[in-house]
């Protein structure tokens, strides 16, 4: 008997484009039966199961569908298709202090939160002093929680939540909160749940913690299971893909569009189209353009940005002294980055087509394209410098 059985679960969200919504368009939409909306599949055909007593971690980038998956198992979100079966009593630590009311005191909130989690009043009364002690809030328990610091809030939420005695426990991101001492308490609590034979499904960004406590790890990427298995192996794959980074770049496309960059393709030294490169290889970028009229003295430019949005390098045809007299119709330019010194990571590329005086931007693609660079050397950092060691003076 599986403790948790998830079979072919998919979840679709409709993203309504708020910008486009007006009374007129809504009424028109209702009349014509057309709705302005976009489908987003948060989960696509996800299946897996948990054996009783197993601890399984779920990792993945933001928006990969981790929380949706947990919500569906918890029963707060209804799947579009597929089904979930949970054997035994289930408890969730989806959010610490969900349902805390800021105006109520710590004491009142403990009872309220406890009953949301399904604990009886009698049980909480018995355990009350332990809960308060565990949270370390003895002096503040009769103060409204709006006066609590965020750390105190979370500690009280956790102290109540761990009082549950389920067969299956769902945990979302709660290991990553609080100070070092509190994190240690959390890890101990998880360990004692494991010892008690509970089945645990835990979502976390804390890869070290996941490696340490999980028997198995699921890697989610854009709503599907990318990898499932041995924690160390899956975490390594995740890091190798560079998915753990939280990108901080703004993607934008703009310009007058008198001439547009109609296509960008990345090729390796062998001429194959790819977006993954090895450090030291050359990168060939073919930039296709299309003009609506003849453009005199155009400039092509490009820039490389790291995932934090920092510009690493930028140049254009005028800086490199390759003037182009005019462009017309369709055509292509080529940009070659010889033996790229970038060591590893995900990089965003921006391209521009603008007038010589920089006044008119015909077309700009800011951070729209991205490439992955990996390296097999042990050298640290993100750029390779030509360096040499010598002994003595």
């Amino acid at each position: 008997m599986k403790a948790v059985d998830v079979s072919n679960v998919s979840k679709r969200y409709f993203l309504r484009k708020e910008v486009m919504r007006s009374l007129k368009s809504t009424v028109l939409g209702l009349l014509t039966g057309k709705r302005i909306r976009e489908d987003l599949w948060a989960l696509k055909d996800v299946s897996f199961s948990l054996e009783p007593g197993e601890t399984v971690g779920v990792i993945g980038a933001n928006g990969a569908g981790k929380s949706t998956l947990l919500g569906i198992i918890a029963g707060t979100i209804t799947p579009t298709s597929g089904s979930v079966h949970v054997e035994g009593r289930m408890s969730t630590l989806l959010e610490l202090g969900a349902g805390f009311h800021p105006d109520l005191t710590g004491r009142e909130n403990v009872f309220l939160n406890g009953s949301i989690l399904g604990l009886s009043k009698k049980y909480i009364e018995e355990r009350f002093s332990d809960i308060v002690h565990f949270a370390g809030l003895s002096e503040f328990i009769d103060v409204p929680v709006k006066h609590y610091s965020s750390g105190m809030y979370v500690r009280l939420g956790f102290a109540v939540a761990v009082e549950v005695d389920p067969d299956v426990l769902l945990v979302d991101e709660v290991l990553a909160v609080g100070d070092e001492e509190f994190r240690k308490k959390c890890m101990n609590k998880m360990a004692s749940f494991q010892k008690a034979g509970k089945t645990i499904l835990v979502v976390s960004h804390d890869l070290e913690a996941v490696k340490k406590i999980c028997h198995k790890v699921i890697l989610l990427g854009e709503g599907s299971i990318v990898d499932l298995g041995d924690p160390a192996k899956v975490v390594e794959e995740y890091v190798r893909l560079g998915l753990e980074q939280q990108d901080n770049v703004v993607k934008r496309e703009w310009g007058t569009k008198e001439a547009v960059i109609s296509g960008v393709t990345f090729c390796n030294e062998a001429g194959e189209e790819t977006s993954r490169f090895t450090s030291g290889q050359s990168i060939v970028i073919r930039i296709a353009y299309k003009c609506r009229r003849r453009i005199d003295d155009p400039i092509f430019g490009f820039g490389i940005t790291d995932y934090q949005g920092r510009l690493c390098y930028g140049s254009n045809t005028i800086i490199e002294n390759v003037p182009i007299s005019h462009i017309e119709g369709e055509g292509e330019v080529r940009l070659v980055i010889d033996s790229s010194p970038i060591l590893r990571g995900k990089y965003y590329l921006s391209f521009s087509l603008h007038s010589r005086d920089h006044r008119t931007n015909y077309h700009r693609l800011d951070n729209v394209h991205s490439i992955w660079i990996t390296s097999d050397t042990k050298r640290e950092g993100f750029i390779r410098l030509v360096s040499a060691w010598r002994e003595g003076r």
């Binding site: 707060t76 959010e95 969900a98 349902g99 109520l104 009953s115 399904g118 009043k121």
Partner: protein
């Protein structure tokens, strides 16, 4: 509602009670008089209506006015609280599992408790009016009160379920509710007794039909019965126990239909709450 759902509600009765306590506590949290406001509020309101009557020489007896206003207070507070009882707590809906029906249900129960307390105040005031102002107060039908309140509870809970679930998808509902409540206040014999309508309408050619339509509003029947519980035999012309129009009884049945509809609609929409909050 399937049996399993009712069983789940019974199993979560402590949660219901805790949410009731929460809404009662936060209503007067931070005010110096605290829970006393539950009694002071209806008192103040009755005082305002007394002034209104004495200054404007409004020809409705004070006892009729007070019973109507206390009745309406419950309906109005309940609906305006209930409309946001789901959409106002996205965290609870998204992050914790329990039957969602508990959210509007606990809101209605909390208001019912407030209602019961204001009825006590009302009874005391009416008794004093009878003693010192020879008001037409007669408590001999007070036994009707629990029945009236039970039907009223069904009606209000039905409305609460409908508007709280619909408001998750269309936030327009909370604005519409305010307007509709205002209109119903005048379309229901709150600040005037039912006998007024009966007299005015009898002048029309198809008066009987008009009166029936008027009485199809369940609140009109309920407030009339609520008055009867406090004002007794003088309420209906001719000394009859209850009004003769069938519409009067149909509308009581409509309250139960409303509850049934509310439970059905809420159950249908419940699975999609988390997607829209």
């Amino acid at each position: 509602m399937p049996k399993a759902r009712i069983g789940e509600l019974i199993a979560r009765r402590e949660l219901i009670w805790n949410l009731v306590l929460r809404s009662l506590r936060i209503r007067y949290k931070g005010s110096a008089l605290g829970f006393l406001w539950t009694l002071l509020n209806p008192l103040m309101m009755m005082l305002i209506y007394w002034l209104f009557i004495s200054i404007l020489r409004f020809e409705v007896p004070l006892s009729h006015l007070l019973t109507g206003v206390i009745f309406w207070q419950f309906v109005a507070m309940c609906t305006s609280d209930a409309v946001r009882s789901v959409s106002g707590f996205p965290n609870l809906v998204k992050k914790a599992y329990f039957p969602r029906i508990i959210l509007p249900l606990s809101m209605v129960i909390a208001n019912l408790i407030n209602f019961a307390l204001s009825i006590v105040v009302l009874a005391v005031i009416l008794f004093l009016l009878k003693l010192f102002a020879q008001a037409a107060v007669d408590f001999s039908f007070l036994w009707m009160l629990p029945f009236v309140m039970a039907i009223q509870f069904c009606l209000v809970l039905g409305i609460a379920l409908l508007i709280s679930s619909a408001n998750v998808f269309f936030r327009d509902i909370e604005h519409i509710v305010g307007v509709v409540l205002q209109a119903l206040f005048f379309l229901t014999p709150i600040i005037y007794p039912l006998s007024f309508v009966r007299e005015r309408i009898s002048g029309f050619k198809s008066g009987g039909v008009l009166l029936s339509i008027y009485l199809l509003n369940p609140m009109a029947s309920l407030v009339t019965l609520f008055r009867k519980a406090f004002l007794g035999r003088e309420l209906f012309a001719g000394g009859g126990f209850l009004p003769p129009e069938p519409a009067f009884y149909i509308s009581l049945g409509l309250s139960l239909v409303m509850l049934f509809a509310g439970v059905r609609v809420f159950g249908k929409l419940e699975p999609y709450f988390a997607d829209h909050l």
